[in-house]
Amino acid sequence: MALSYLRSSSSRSVNLLKPLSSSLPLRRPISTDTTPITVETSVPFTSHQCDAPSRSVETNPKELLTFFRDMALMRRMEIAADSLYKAKLIRGFCHLYDGQEAVAVGMEAAVTKKDCIITAYRDHCTFIGRGGTLLEVFAELMGRQAGCSKGKGGSMHFYKKDSNFYGGHGIVGAQVPLGCGLAFAQKYSKDETVTFALYGDGAANQGQLFEALNISALWDLPAILVCENNHYGMGTAEWRAAKSPAYYKRGDYVPGLKVDGMDALAVKQACKFAKEHALKNGPIILEMDTYRYHGHSMSDPGSTYRTRDEISGVRQERDPIERIRKLILSHDLATEKELKDIEKEVRKEVDDTITQAKESPMPEPSELFTNVYAKGLGVESFGADRKEVRATLP
């Protein structure tokens, strides 16, 4: 596969450094080592109406290896979902996140599970980041009972209430007012937590976003609006959709920060900064400069509006997993083989979970009528022919 070829090509260059460090003791694959390492982000942050945070990010071996494993898991999961879709086990819409994993893992590293995250329909990896299991993901994608929404939501409706992941929304931009509402509730309950409302460069032109931003700024809500700018709104490039593609500046009176979204450490630094800012000063916009390798969704080849060279160029220069791999290898936190083993392990995990998910049953027919209302109205519901599907609601 193209991916493994690229991987091995980069490792060849790192091998040259190998002899120098061979005297160091052997490190275990998932290190529990928390000695701090300081890394510089790839590019400095650009800011609007605020002081940019420093380029030096504190991290540690454990975190870096966790990043690597999580991103490898997400990448593998998305590619597996691609195959499942082509095998017609996943139907409808399937929007894949591969290439953008750094945003999900970097954000998780900076916040707690008490902070809320809400995003749009490209939510599989964000759900995993919030603590969702692979089984819930694949079962939901295939519409099975074991899915996180019992099979009734689908790809675009993943939610995890206990870790404050609010979805999973199909209508472009509609999640941003919801996110500001979450921030309002946090302020109301005096939680000292924040909300990250993610949206894309396509949604950045929605009116409701600016309405919600205005209200958030007026009421000083701890809302962080994160624009995952992958430069294409389905088939339309950002310069064709927005007069001003500097999305971090679009908040006008609201401060903004532009971040390299392919660098998990930069994302982590930015989110940490944003959380501190939002708790003190109200809303802030983060623009994550990222890229998606797949098309917008499974029905989009992704090559009619951009060149294959562009895609492979980004994959070679800016791939988030590769960056972390290089970082790990250059700091000698794990060997090449150990990282490969992690990837193999991840691949096996994904395959096993898919097998397990395939065995999960489809929802019961009576599930058609459950959860329409929180408390049923004591009515009897039935399908069109009044015979086949019947349920008495609580």
Binding site: G147, G151, P177, L178, G179, L182, T370, Y373, A374, K375
Partner: protein
């Protein structure tokens, strides 16, 4: 049977609604009531819809005549049996709404109000007057003119457990928030597999007013009725306004409470004690034998005015205020249809795709065998509401048309 007045038990009040099937109605009406979340320990008065019992019809008819003189009506608490109940207090409908809202905000700190001019201004129809001073800016929130986003924000807050009451200054403005109401408010409970409940109340005045123009005379119940997952109720008297407001706030489901611009100044005497009205129940306004008239909101008063004339002409209409627009209270309606075998629906929605259209379909599907004649539905004309007073009058159903329709039905 007379205990319906003091309303000690939940189910008792329903007994007075129809002489036949009283046993069944009590049994069947028990279930929705029991499942209803009611404040523990407090005594409450369940909805005593018609406020009276099965006396013979003539005195009731005469009382009905005394009842409706004009739009500002006094509820017939003046009958002898009611004088032994607590005197209660008199107020206007918007004050009743405010009382309900205030009591719920006192009771539950998670209730908050959001809307345009609800705070410092006191509410464009004074429903929230005084609340901002009492509860502060964080619980009574003035929003900018951004319906789509503040409705969305209300829904987002509700996902975490807050109980916002979102006010649309006019229901028509909520069309801008249709996406949020339909997709997020209505469907989130389902698409999340039951993880989130959305205990939001969306309320506001709608309906045809006095020459307010086409865009400010919209009847949104017809647009929202298809949305799965929401409940819709329409209040028509101060008593049920307060009761429905409280019930809606306490409900775990998203509820849309439709008020009417012209009904805000209705005066009525309502009980002092804490009470709620069942969200899914219809109200029996006037029991009768000849024809069932189903109506809601402002048209109830047109119907009662027509009932006055009809009684003089010797007809005995049974008037039911359906109150619950989604879901329909097919139990009460069904019992009535089984008794009278003739149905007239009087609504303010437009003919096409209105509440009446759905109700006609529902009754035909379920009670076809009990109908002697096809259901007649009187609705507003399928036109944008004109500004000119005379034209506006012709758009909406008038009492004279109701009288003619009943005469036709009963031929």
């Amino acid at each position: 049977m007379a205990t319906g007045f003091h309303g000690v038990g939940a189910a008792v009040a329903a007994l007075s609604s129809s002489p036949s099937n009283s046993f069944d109605s009590k049994k069947l009406l028990c279930s929705p009531r029991r499942s209803f979340p009611v404040r523990k320990g407090a005594s409450f008065v369940a909805d005593r819809s018609d406020g009276s019992v099965n006396l013979d019809l003539n005195p009731k008819a005469r009382r009905a005549q005394q009842l409706i003189v004009n739009a500002v009506a006094n509820k017939a608490d003046s009958s002898p049996a009611s004088s032994s109940s607590k005197p209660g207090h008199e107020l206007l409908l918007f004050e009743a709404l405010r009382e309900g809202l205030e009591e719920e905000m006192d009771r539950d700190p998670r209730v908050c109000v959001m809307g345009e001019d609800v705070g410092h201004y006191g509410g464009s129809y004074k429903v929230t007057r005084g609340l901002a001073e009492k509860f502060g800016d964080l619980r009574v929130l003035d929003t900018p003119i951004a319906e789509n986003s503040f409705t969305g924000m209300g829904i987002g807050a509700a996902m975490t457990g807050l109980r916002p009451v979102v006010e649309g200054m006019n229901m028509g403005f909520l069309l801008l928030a249709f996406n949020q109401i339909s997709n997020n408010c209505g469907m989130l409970h389902y698409t999340s597999g039951g993880q989130f409940t959305i205990p939001i109340v969306i309320r506001g005045p709608g309906g045809v007013g006095r020459q307010l123009g086409a865009e400010h005379s919209q009847r949104l119940e017809s647009y929202f009725q298809s949305i799965p997952g929401i409940q819709m109720v329409a209040c028509s008297t101060p008593y049920n306004a307060k009761g429905l407001m409280k019930a809606a706030i306490r409900s775990e489901n998203p509820v849309i409470l439709f008020e009417h611009v012209l009904l805000y100044n209705l005066k009525e005497r309502i009980p002092d004690e804490d009470y709620i009205c069942n969200l899914e129940e219809a109200e029996m306004v006037r029991p009768g034998e000849h024809v069932t008239i189903l109506t809601y909101s402002r048209m109830r008063y047109h119907v009662m005015q027509a009932a006055k004339t009809l009684v003089n002409k010797g007809y005995d209409p049974e008037v039911i205020d359906i109150r619950s627009l989604k879901p329909f209270d097919l139990h009460t309606i069904g019992n009535s249809v089984k008794k009278t075998h003739r149905v007239l629906i009087v609504e303010e929605c437009m003919r096409t795709g209105g509440i009446g259209a759905s109700l006609t379909a529902a009754i035909t599907e379920n009670f076809h065998d009990y109908l002697d004649t096809p259901i007649m539905c009187l609705s507003s004309q399928d036109v944008p509401t004109p500004y000119a007073g005379t034209l506006e009058e012709w758009t909406v159903v008038q009492p004279a048309q109701i009288v003619t329709a009943v005469e036709q039905l009963c031929k």
